[in-house]
Symmetry: D3
Subunit: 144 residues, 6 copies
């Protein structure tokens, strides 16, 4: 278990990867209720600037959220995000991973501290698919 005290500003991690499949897009359209034709209508997508269906922005954030080593992090709460940008379209067959960097750490006393991560969601071509500035409250090491 990694506690607040165990993080260092500038520290970097790379997560494992996950390929975004056609099934993921259908499942996310289903879950979210967002069946915008650009995501789920092949004929419409052919005539779009992308030429094919692309993944929802929220799919990219959701499907990669579980790539982080969550069970090793002493998470207290997910505060939010200060910035989310979608930079390159995620297409069927793209494999995403996150390059995480600790940007900032704020000690909040006994309860823990807020760690700010810059998360670059990269595809297999090395492009940034998305970028988030994510803030998580992380607990301190319990006193024995």
């Amino acid at each position: 278990m990694k506690y607040f005290e165990d993080y260092r500003i500038g520290e970097r991690f790379v997560t494992r990867g996950r390929t975004i499949t056609e099934a993921d897009i259908v499942m996310f359209a289903a879950f979210s209720g967002d069946w915008y034709p650009l995501h789920v209508d092949v004929e419409y997508a052919k005539n779009s600037p992308f030429g094919e269906r692309i993944a929802h922005g929220m799919l990219v954030l959701s499907a990669t959220s579980g790539l982080m080593p969550l069970y090793d992090m002493a998470i207290v709460a997910f505060y939010g995000m200060d910035k989310v940008r979608f930079m390159a379209p995620t297409k069927i067959g793209d494999t995403l991973r996150i390059e995480m960097e600790v940007l900032e750490m704020r000690d909040k006393g006994e309860i823990g501290g807020v760690v700010t991560f810059e998360n670059r969601i990269k595809n297999q071509r090395g492009e940034d698919a998305a970028l988030t500035i994510t803030k998580v409250m992380i607990g301190k090491r319990p006193v024995e």
Copy 2:
């Protein structure tokens, strides 16, 4: 279809609602791969500050993203978010809707313009479950 020219700063909408169920939490844990015990382990959650399982932040964003009247909006692209804050926990049985307000509009020329929405995700008790500042590129009305 609502085009860039049809929006007004200060305009407000309220979406329909959706109840977040235990099934939603299981399905989102499955889709995202985030099985953090606070979301999916009843025994763990009993001893947490919330006393019960709570929905993932990303679930709240994803499940409400399809509540917006997307098929009536001439969306070109989802730019990103400038701020995301989770304010109250979303528990099993909570019903969420979005109160949207047009905060800002930037004309980008022929292609359309960026509309910035403040989206307050409210539960049935009137509490803010989450807040996002969301930027969407919206197309202009086609010339006949």
Copy 3:
């Protein structure tokens, strides 16, 4: 395997049962894209004539379609339905089964014949939840 020749007008079957759960309603809303509030918004449903969420009509037809002994039927094609009526609301926790009766048989020559079933979808209170007149093309017993 049951072939066209093996059916008799007036013959009746009762299928096994399946309980319709909250998860089924969420999953069907997701699959179909029909998130009408009567099905998925607890607050809205409370104020409806039913007082609670009810299953989609198509959910009732879909979830019971697999209760029929399909793998024992020499199905060639599903022709269609001559009538579909929804008679009693299906609520969370209702258990459905089908009472099937062979209404009509039309020999179509070598390929098989069309068997018309009256399918009564009954709940555990003995009420008719729905009724369909369903036509299926069923093959003839292969000549050895």
Copy 4:
């Protein structure tokens, strides 16, 4: 919101589209429990008259049911269907949309009226995949 008084006999609409994917067929087989080999066994389907897996008839009805502009319709209840015919097989990759036409309107007094739609489910080749005569009870415009 479109009320009973807002419909006209002969009025037509075309919905947005949705591509039926392999994932949809697997998900519908799962939900319905109908794993008939024609839908889910590639080897079996190769030797069928269709030469490949085809979508379930109920899948076609269910997956298109959410394409209708449901949230803009003052639906009171889904009465049923007077006719359902499956005309062309729906294959993986086909994109379906509904061409709806108001066939009949029956005023039922204060509660609303029954609107009968002829729904042609068309694929991207312009073929009729299925046709339904669908009856929906639609409410009247509330008196202010």
Copy 5:
């Protein structure tokens, strides 16, 4: 309904088939929480000994468990398995069926008896994908 007395040692059955799709692998990764890259990361799998993604062993057991004619078997309880071996990788597009053989029968008195099956899970190339020795308690024919 087939009761304990209706089985014979050495009796063999072959089930219907099911093609394992990319969607199945994604859905099983989701359900189980096992996103090991060999199953869901195309780039990783390319460099593995298999050269492509392969199905989870548990997926193979789960997806074929429903191919057995369960509703015709007077099952009292699933005892367990004495042996499970995964012999050939199951790849996307493989179609699995089970060749079942009754290996052993133990009468347990009034309640029924334990039937031991050797289940060979075969793919469309005739290879053994997996083998299980499975023990099921099966009830006796009720006395009229």
Copy 6:
């Protein structure tokens, strides 16, 4: 990453937990195609020895398979299981975790070795829900 050399006979681990919900049972019935009434028919289950629906044995194995710290294990292949026993029924709301113990280790040379785990799947009442003897081929630490 934990390699073959890093395991010790007699070593024990306890995984995180996961509550088995009604949604899990429906989702697993759907995925596996096993809709045996004991799992999915409330009325049938009421009259069974268990008095309520119970989870599929394979659901218990599948849903817990992802609880193991898989991404930290240098897994080469999942060999199989030497024994699987279902000991106590898993009911809706039960929370499962695995107590793993290294029973045996067989060095297979350069490729790695087979580690045999005794996995006790325990519920929140401390009962053994199931037990497996599971064999996994684990790679050796790469030479730098």
